[in-house]
Amino acid sequence: MNEFLRRVLFLPEQASSLARQVDQLHYFVIITTLVMSTAVGLTALFFFVRFRRRSATQTTRHLQPPVWVEALFIAVPLGFFLAWVYRGYHDFLLLTTPPSNSMDVYVMAKQWMWKFSYPDGPNSAGVLRVPANRPVRLLLTSRDVIHSFFVPAFRIKRDALPGRYTETWFEALEPGHYPVYCAEFCGTNHSNMLAEVVVMRPEEFDSWLVEQRRGRVAQQDGSQTPDEDLSALTNPVRQGEQLAVRYGCFKCHTVDGSPHIGPTWLDLYLRREALEGGGTVIADETYMTESMMDPLAKVVRGFNPVMPSFKGRLSGPEAAAIVEFIKSLRSEPLEQARSRRPVYEPIRR
């Protein structure tokens, strides 16, 4: 019965400990809805046939139902509605209250990706690995705008807000791959802000976690520390990258060569660009600085004049740092820059 209704209603698989319970209320509500709609429709149809007009000047009796009939028609549906909301709230509390033995994972959303980090452990972009049959609490936050973490198969969704933490939890039942969507509109690439939950057998997960920790420790032992904040003080490239994040450059510019709202920064330095309105320009330091301060002066052909000016917002050294960062974005070295990769390989199906 459960499986039949799930398929009829096009619901995804019930892959979390609470999914089935949530769906049962779903079935009850939808079936009542359909029955009631049909009943109202059939009653109207019956009245329509039974009480069709028989003459052009026909009159009708003035009818007024007694008060107890009115009260009944208010009390019965209200009783149903309140029962639903009671049960719904009950389930909602279960869905939002993580058990005390949950394993924590931090979820950081930004335009347009999901990052997952384990306390004292590895972190990853786009893939959340969790063990089956163990409650996992997610602590969500966002770096820029509001996003929403949605796993249909688990029947969970929670907004990730900038400047605060929200939480949700789930306990996956079976190993497998489950898609994650961003459900709150967050800009141009909202519909590509996907990720997946990979549910592993508990023992596999444990050994995976140990391996990841070992890899991270090995890296920390070396002389090169991956700590971003330390190097940013002395390294203009790192500083430029951080500034680009802070000023939202990546909302429109990519660093991997894919076209977006603005031209990609990959291999931008010394590239010859055709301009809107004719002519070309070589993207040297001068042009890049001018584009930050007076972006509409020379717009690269094929792009909309939408970039805001950063005049008065970026100081001279800051603009220089961003230019240095752009200059560092060469397709050749980027491929070899091991330190920029996550500490383990994201697993893609």
Binding site: L25, M36, F92, D144, F150, R158, L161
Partner: protein
């Protein structure tokens, strides 16, 4: 179904031909002419908003990019929402039929403040001009909900759109004040509150919401404008603001706004059900007071839009319960309309087809509304196509059906001509069918987990998206047919006669089209508004 062939000739001098210069239209303070001007403007808005909807549906035919890029798609759905909500649905029934019929139903020669009424038209035009300007400059990409901090940081032209809606709000407020004062002070002799037509009750309830809620929207959009244009930190946490504050303020307006859209429609249905069932409204008082009940309780349910936003669980529970109480008023109305048919003398005309459509969409849309207010279920449905389908059932399904029912019911009165009944039924069936084909797949998409506002989507969703787009095309042809036959009927339609439906509504006591000042002599109200215990024929000659 003309009751008397002799009455067919329209009055030689009426509000349409008393003066014909352009100036006489642009500077008119006649509530009927203002109603007609609103009708033209909101039909343009409906067309523009509908075109955006079709463009969106075409983009969604394939999982990847189809013919526009992501940012254009985002701008289109934003403009679709803004135009449909603020430029079509909110002014539709109150500003067109409310303006035209409320004074006539009360036995008044005009609204209380005719010049304010004219001002509201021009404020609407200015607001629309701002939004149109923004559209030409690319348009905002925030969605009609303007959620912060995305809307306060996006590089698109949000500012003129915000200003346009801010300005439009004054038009809504002026109309609301005008109607409230008119109902209080300009009722004709003998018209007590319990003899008000139910359409007047619905417009009265709507006006209260308009006057109380719209200033909150204006304030909220102004704050967002200040944040976007001058970098004030109000909603953006990076500047010390609170993003949830925006959602609370926005929905404090926008949930009552849903009732601004649907309540007048419920008024239209009360009038038309009574007329075509030729029967007094069962439980008149219950319908009248439930309009006020919706207006009041509707203000306390906004948090059901925020169950997964991070608001406290206690809030979510409280808003869930309150939502059930607002739903019960709607269910009272539904039972009453169906009950009105009991013991009636029903005839199936085009407006009645829309009544049937309305009942189905309101019951199904309303019940799915209760489903999404059931907190645990909303976690899965929130921000998916299920919610999109639910509110389109109410806002397009029910509200638009009511608008079309009203348009077909009152068209003969407004313009003195009748439209071809056969084509009316064809278009009505096409629209009801097309609507179901468009939005029932979207309920299923939502169940599958398809999030809303997605430009690209996984392939498993494609079949249902194609079905939905096909339905939208059907819907388009339905509207096209209506547009063609109504425009032709304006010129070539048979003269309708004063009371072609044999209605007991007070507005049918005037000539069709009505005189410039509505009546030869002020009418006296000596009966209830939906009283069919005496033959109608006698009444239609009484004026």
């Amino acid at each position: 179904m003309s009751l008397s062939a002799a009455e067919a000739a329209p009055p030689t001098r009426n509000y349409l031909n008393a003066e014909t210069t352009l100036r006489s239209w642009l500077l008119t303070t006649d509530h009927k002419r203002i109603g007609v001007m609103y009708l033209v403007m909101i039909l343009i808005s409906l067309f523009v908003g509908g075109m955006f909807a079709l463009l969106l549906r075409f983009e969604l035919l394939t999982p990847g990019p189809t013919y526009i890029d992501a940012i254009t798609y985002n701008r289109f759905f934003t403009l679709h929402g803004i135009i449909m909500v603020w430029f079509f649905l909110i002014p539709s029934i109150p500003s067109v039929f409310g303006n035209f019929f409320l004074p006539i139903m009360l036995g008044a020669r005009d609204v209380a403040f005719p010049r304010l009424n004219l001002a509201s038209v021009y404020i609407y035009v200015i607001g629309a001009a701002f939004t149109l300007g923004a559209m030409i400059h690319g348009g905002a990409d925030t969605g009609w909900t303007f959620y912060t901090p995305y809307s306060s940081t996006t590089a698109t032209t949000v500012t003129p759109v915000l200003l346009g809606i801010f300005i439009l709000g004054f038009s809504t407020i002026l109309t609301g004040i005008n109607f409230i004062v008119t109902v209080h002070t300009m009722r004709g002799p003998g018209q007590t509150w319990m003899r008000l037509p139910l359409f007047v009750w619905a417009i009265y309830g709507t006006s209260i919401i308009q006057v109380l809620a719209t200033p909150v929207l204006g304030l909220t959009l102004l704050l967002l404008f200040v944040e976007h244009a001058f970098n004030f930190g109000l909603f953006d946490p990076a500047r010390g603001g609170d993003p949830l504050l925006f959602q609370h303020l926005f929905w404090f307006y926008s949930h009552p706004a849903v009732y601004i859209m649907i309540l007048p429609g419920m008024g239209v249905i009360s009038e038309t059900v009574s007329c075509f069932a030729r029967k007094n409204i069962l439980s008149y008082k219950a319908v009248a007071y439930s309009s006020l009940g919706i207006a009041f309780v509707g203000f306390f349910t906004w948090g059901h839009h925020m169950f997964v936003s991070g608001q406290s669980n206690f809030d979510s529970g409280a808003f869930g319960v309150l939502s059930m109480f607002v739903a019960i008023f709607t269910s009272i109305k539904v039972f009453t309309w169906v009950g009105t048919m009991y013991g009636g003398a029903i005839t199936f005309k085009t407006p009645f087809a829309y009544i049937c459509g309305f009942l189905f969409f309101l019951v199904f849309g309303g019940m799915t509304g209760i489903a999404v207010a059931t907190i645990s279920l909303d976690v899965h449905w929130h921000d998916t196509y299920f919610v999109v389908a639910h509110f389109h059932f109410i806002m397009v399904g029910a509200a638009l059906m009511a608008f079309l029912a009203g348009l077909h019911y009152w068209f003969p009165k407004m313009f003195g001509r009748s439209y071809p009944e056969g084509w009316g039924l064809v278009a009505a069936s096409l629209i009801i069918l097309g609507f179901n084909a468009t939005f029932i797949p979207q309920f299923l998409l939502g169940n599958m987990g398809m999030p809303r506002r997605y430009y690209n989507y996984p392939e498993k969703f494609q079949t249902l998206h194609v079905a939905s787009s096909a339905g939208a095309t059907l819907l388009f042809f339905g509207f096209l047919i209506i547009f063609i036959y109504l425009v032709l009927a304006l010129k070539y339609g048979q003269p309708a006669g004063d009371n072609p439906w044999g209605s007991r509504g007070f507005e049918w006591n005037t000539s069709s089209p009505p005189l410039p000042h509505n009546f030869e002599k002020a009418p006296v109200f000596d009966r209830e508004p939906h009283d069919y215990t005496t033959p109608v024929l006698e009444v239609s000659h009484a004026s």
